[in-house]
């Protein structure tokens, strides 16, 4: 299973990569939106799921979300990491087509549960 992780905080990114890899995921991580979007558009990628932060340099999480959802012929689930805890933002995230969100700070098993739930469907 291949996960695309977009998170600009170095510490959180590294921790998540470590955690997801320990749970036998393959992880490709980026610290900005535009590199991540460029990666999704490469033909050889075979992403199964995207986890992205909202607040990112260059291109934000919203653009990543839109780019992933616009990929032709594929339905890649997206989990958004929000740090708001504000309901409006979370609703907006769903409006943009996100499949799930996790509010930071979060416990890693929660994220794992959400990933598994999305992958079952």
């Amino acid at each position: 299973m291949n996960i695309l992780l977009v998170e600009d905080d170095e510490m959180l990114q590294k921790s998540l990569v470590f955690y997801l890899q320990s749970n036998r995921f393959k992880v490709k991580a980026f610290d900005n939106g535009s590199d991540a979007i460029a990666y999704t558009e490469t033909p050889e990628n075979n992403i199964d799921l995207v986890i992205t932060d909202l607040n990112l340099p260059f291109a934000g999480g919203r653009q990543v979300l839109q780019a992933v959802k616009a990929l032709p012929g594929r339905e890649i689930p997206v989990i958004v990491l929000t740090s708001s805890g504000v309901e409006a933002t979370e609703l907006e995230v769903f409006d943009l087509g996100a499949d799930e969100f996790v509010t930071k700070p979060f416990s890693p098993p929660v994220l794992l549960k959400r990933i598994n739930k999305l992958m079952e469907n």
């Binding site: 998170e7 600009d8 905080d9 170095e10 510490m11 959180l12 590294k14 921790s15 998540l16 470590f18 955690y19 320990s22 932060d53 607040n55 740090s83 930071k104 700070p105 979060f106 416990s107 890693p108 098993p109």
Partner: protein
């Protein structure tokens, strides 16, 4: 039936006149009726007539050329005398009328039938009659019709009269209303005119066109702005405005054109170029169709007021700056004077402990007493300067009144015993046990008053009484009375004793000593706490000082630090870094600490202190604040932020201003000790902080039980228990958050608050991983005010330092 009596005739005429019918214009309704009756009765002549005292007037007629007749020529005069129909079938054979000129003539009247028009009051006011030139007789139905129609005529007359009355009344009411309105209008106009006149007499008044051209001005405005009337008529509003403000003025005038009222203080430029100020209102005046007709400016010259305000601002700033200088001057003097005395006292105490020679002990005690007295005097002077500089601060804390009194008494007890005086106190039962206020200042006042009382009393007693007076605005007014049986004060000296450097008698200072500042300070301290102080005295009998202070009721103070006995056992020694530039103090503190087997390293300044800190591990740092090269605060900052060391730092300061203390704590110092301190105070401080530090070190890794700044639960979960990875992440956190902090401080210096918001947002992710509290970051993310930002940045720095303390151990 005969003629009416004269008075009846008058009433009849009045009734007639009340209908207002005489000489009125012909009316269709009446004309129709006479045509109807002539047709019904089949006669050529029909008349509706009114009869006054000497005339018959025809309201409506058919077949008759006259419009009125003298009464005596009429036949109707006879009809009028009866209520039934008068029918004369052939006038030539009727005695009453056969000689009537209208009968006894060619083609004269031969037939006549008439009926009176009877008003509701019974008077006959006129007739309805028919006539013919041929003799004839009315049928009974014709007579009936005549009768009915007469009633109809009367009904018409009645209706006409009512209408007339109504319209008269209406007109009256209307006229009254109009009159009232006119009067009101007049009054209002008058009022406005007066208002306008008085405004014009005391204010500048200018009328502008809606576009801003001057239409008219009054003399006050002309003298304000300096232009003549001729010059002004060609001018525009913008000509009075500072060229720098022209752009603003365009907007301002646009608002006026749109009908917005404007008021405020405005700067204007006089003809001679001077700046003048006015307090003005600009009122757009609308014409009835809603268009802006003109703009009325009413203003007053406030140039002098503005100048005064500016001068006051400058004066205020100067005063504040002076005050600030005074503040630091006092702080410096405090340091300079107290340090050497401190050393003298400290060494004397050390010597007293070691010395066994009685003679020398007695000398040393004298040195100690002299030193103590000197310290009292200096404290008095400093207190006074602080009161004068307005920098004395009252601490509000809960305290137990009885405990304060007992402390004071324990100090004075020996003194009283030596003089064989009775020293007692009583607290009445309605005084609250706990009060909220500055207990140290209360002790100071009590010590001063009771000390004085003891000093000036040779035999007898000194009493302190404490009573509750009343509750006012939730404040309990407490009255303290100090009574002695001493020498007393002469009445004319009573006020003088509160004056600075003054005692009741010059000889007193020689006999009793003292600075003469104590009472002055006490009274000022009482007044600072919104209280009052009074004195009564009789020579040879004694003196009574009374002071009252309002205190809010307090609660039981939180328990003091737990007893240290136990901890002393846990910890007996350690290594201490002493940063202190004064050689006397260095040697004194070293001597005291070495006595307790502490290892002491001494640095004469901050730079040397840091060098030592780099090489050795310390359990505690004693930090003098004022040192050459690098002061205590800067040194502490380096320890906290460059070494990230949580070592306890205790400030040693001669500077006991509250601001200074707060600054110390903000810089990351743990506590402070005001010089001169007692050895016990120093030990207590050292034991407390070294023990706390040791305990923290032990508990640092027990995150869950420790109510601390971090929780590594998430990180442990992420790393699946991989300690190496955890450490790697912690190192990353230390590095990144430090950078972030510096970055934010840099942004703050550049006033880039938005960047701080986003940096704070960014940092939340890392904080989340180590389970740190996000509140401060959340506030920093939202803050937009520089002062608030600074506060939050300091809070973040503190939080980070706490986090570092834990993560680094």
């Amino acid at each position: 039936m005969n003629n009416f009596t004269p008075s009846q005739e008058i009433e009849r005429i009045q009734t007639l006149l009340s209908y207002g019918i005489l000489d009125s214009k012909p009316e269709q309704e009446f004309d129709d009726l006479v045509h109807l009756i002539s047709a019904i009765c089949e006669v050529p002549v029909a008349i509706i007539s009114m009869l006054d005292e000497n005339r018959q007037w025809y309201k409506a007629k058919v077949g008759m050329e006259f419009s009125d007749l003298p009464k005596n020529e009429t036949i109707c005069q006879y009809t009028l005398l009866q209520n039934e129909i008068l029918e004369i079938t052939d006038a030539l054979h009727d005695e009453r009328v056969k000689d009537n000129p209208h009968v006894n003539t060619e083609n004269g009247i031969r037939f006549y039938a008439g009926i009176s028009l009877q008003a509701p009051n019974g008077y006959n006011i006129g007739t309805l009659c028919v006539a013919d030139t041929k003799p004839r007789q009315l049928s009974s139905s014709q007579k009936k019709s005549l009768k009915l129609l007469s009633k109809q005529v009367m009904a018409l007359l009645e209706a006409r009269k009512r209408n007339r009355r109504l319209s008269e009344e209406l007109e009256l009411i209307l006229n009254n209303k109009i009159k009232e309105a006119e009067e009101k209008l007049f009054l209002k106009e008058n009022e406005y005119q007066h208002l306008l006149d008085s405004i014009k007499r005391s204010n500048s008044v200018v009328e502008f066109s809606p576009e801003g051209h001057v239409l008219s001005t009054n003399t006050i405005f002309r003298s304000f702005i300096g232009y003549s009337e001729e010059e002004l008529v060609k001018m525009h509003h913008s000509d009075f405005v500072d060229p720098k403000d022209k752009a603003k003025n365009v907007k301002f005038w646009q608002a006026l054109e749109n009908g917005y009222f404007k008021a405020g203080r405005f700067k204007r430029i006089r003809k001679n170029g001077d700046e003048v100020w006015m307090q003005a209102t600009y009122n757009p005046v609308r014409s009835p169709d809603g268009k802006i007709d003109k703009v009325l400016q009413i203003s007053q010259d406030i140039t002098l007021e503005i100048a005064a305000e500016k001068a006051m601002q400058v004066a205020k700033e100067a005063a504040e700056s002076l005050n600030h200088q005074k503040d630091s001057f006092i702080a410096n003097v405090s340091h300079e004077i107290r340090t050497p005395i401190h050393a003298v006292l400290g060494f004397t105490e050390l010597l007293l402990e070691q010395e066994r020679d009685h003679q020398k002990i007695s000398y040393l005690k004298s040195v100690k007493t002299a030193g103590d007295n000197l310290m009292f005097i200096i404290n008095d002077i400093l207190d006074l300067s602080k009161i004068e500089a307005g920098i004395i601060q009252m601490h509000a804390a809960n305290f137990r009144l009885k405990q304060v009194v007992e402390n004071v008494f324990s100090i004075l007890h020996l003194n009283a015993k030596q003089k064989q005086l009775k020293l007692t106190y009583s607290i009445s039962s309605d005084v609250p046990e706990y009060l909220l206020g500055d207990s140290n200042r209360l002790s100071q006042i009590l010590l001063n008053l009771l000390g004085n009382a003891l000093k000036f009393t040779h035999k007898g007693k000194v009493e302190l009484g404490i009573e509750f007076v009343e509750v006012q605005a939730e404040q309990h007014l407490i009255k303290f009375t100090v009574t002695d049986t001493g020498i007393g004060i002469e009445e004319d000296k009573l006020e003088k004793i509160f004056q600075r450097f003054s005692q009741a008698d010059e000889s007193i200072s020689r006999t009793f000593g003292g600075t003469g500042l104590g009472l002055n300070i006490s009274r000022q301290l009482v007044e600072r706490q919104n209280g009052t102080m009074e004195v009564e005295s009789k020579i040879g009998e004694g003196t009574k000082f009374t002071f009252s202070i309002p205190y809010p009721a307090g609660t039981k103070p939180e328990d003091q630090e737990p007893a240290l006995e136990e901890e002393k056992v846990i910890f007996t020694t350690g290594r201490i870094l002493l940063c202190e530039d004064n050689e006397l103090n260095q040697r004194l503190i070293e001597a005291i600490l070495k006595e307790k087997k502490f290892t002491v390293d001494i640095a004469g300044n901050g730079v040397a202190g840091i060098e030592l800190f780099r090489k050795n591990e310390y359990d505690l740092v004693l930090m003098d604040l004022q040192m050459p090269q690098q002061d205590g605060r800067e040194t502490t900052r380096i320890i906290r932020h460059e070494f990230h060391s949580p070592v306890p730092v205790v400030a040693l300061t001669a500077n006991f201003l509250n601001i200074e203390r707060e600054k110390c704590l903000q810089e990351g110092m743990n506590d402070y000790l005001s010089k001169p301190f007692k050895r016990e105070e120093l030990f207590e401080m050292i034991y407390r902080w070294i023990n706390k530090y040791r305990q923290e070190k032990l508990s640092v890794r027990r995150f869950n039980g420790y109510k601390a700044a971090v929780s590594l639960k998430h990180l442990e979960e992420m790393s699946d228990g991989n300690m190496e990875f955890q450490q790697e992440m912690i190192n990353l956190f230390l590095e990144n958050s430090e950078k972030s902090m510096q970055q934010m401080q840099l942004y703050f210096e550049q006033q880039e608050l938005r960047k701080i918001n986003s940096e704070a947002h960014h940092l939340k992710s890392s904080f989340g991983i180590i389970g740190a509290d996000l509140d401060v970051l959340q506030q920093l993310e939202e803050v937009s005010d520089p002062v608030e930002t600074k506060k939050h940045l300091q809070a973040l720095e503190k939080q980070l330092s706490e986090i570092f303390t834990i993560l680094k151990n």
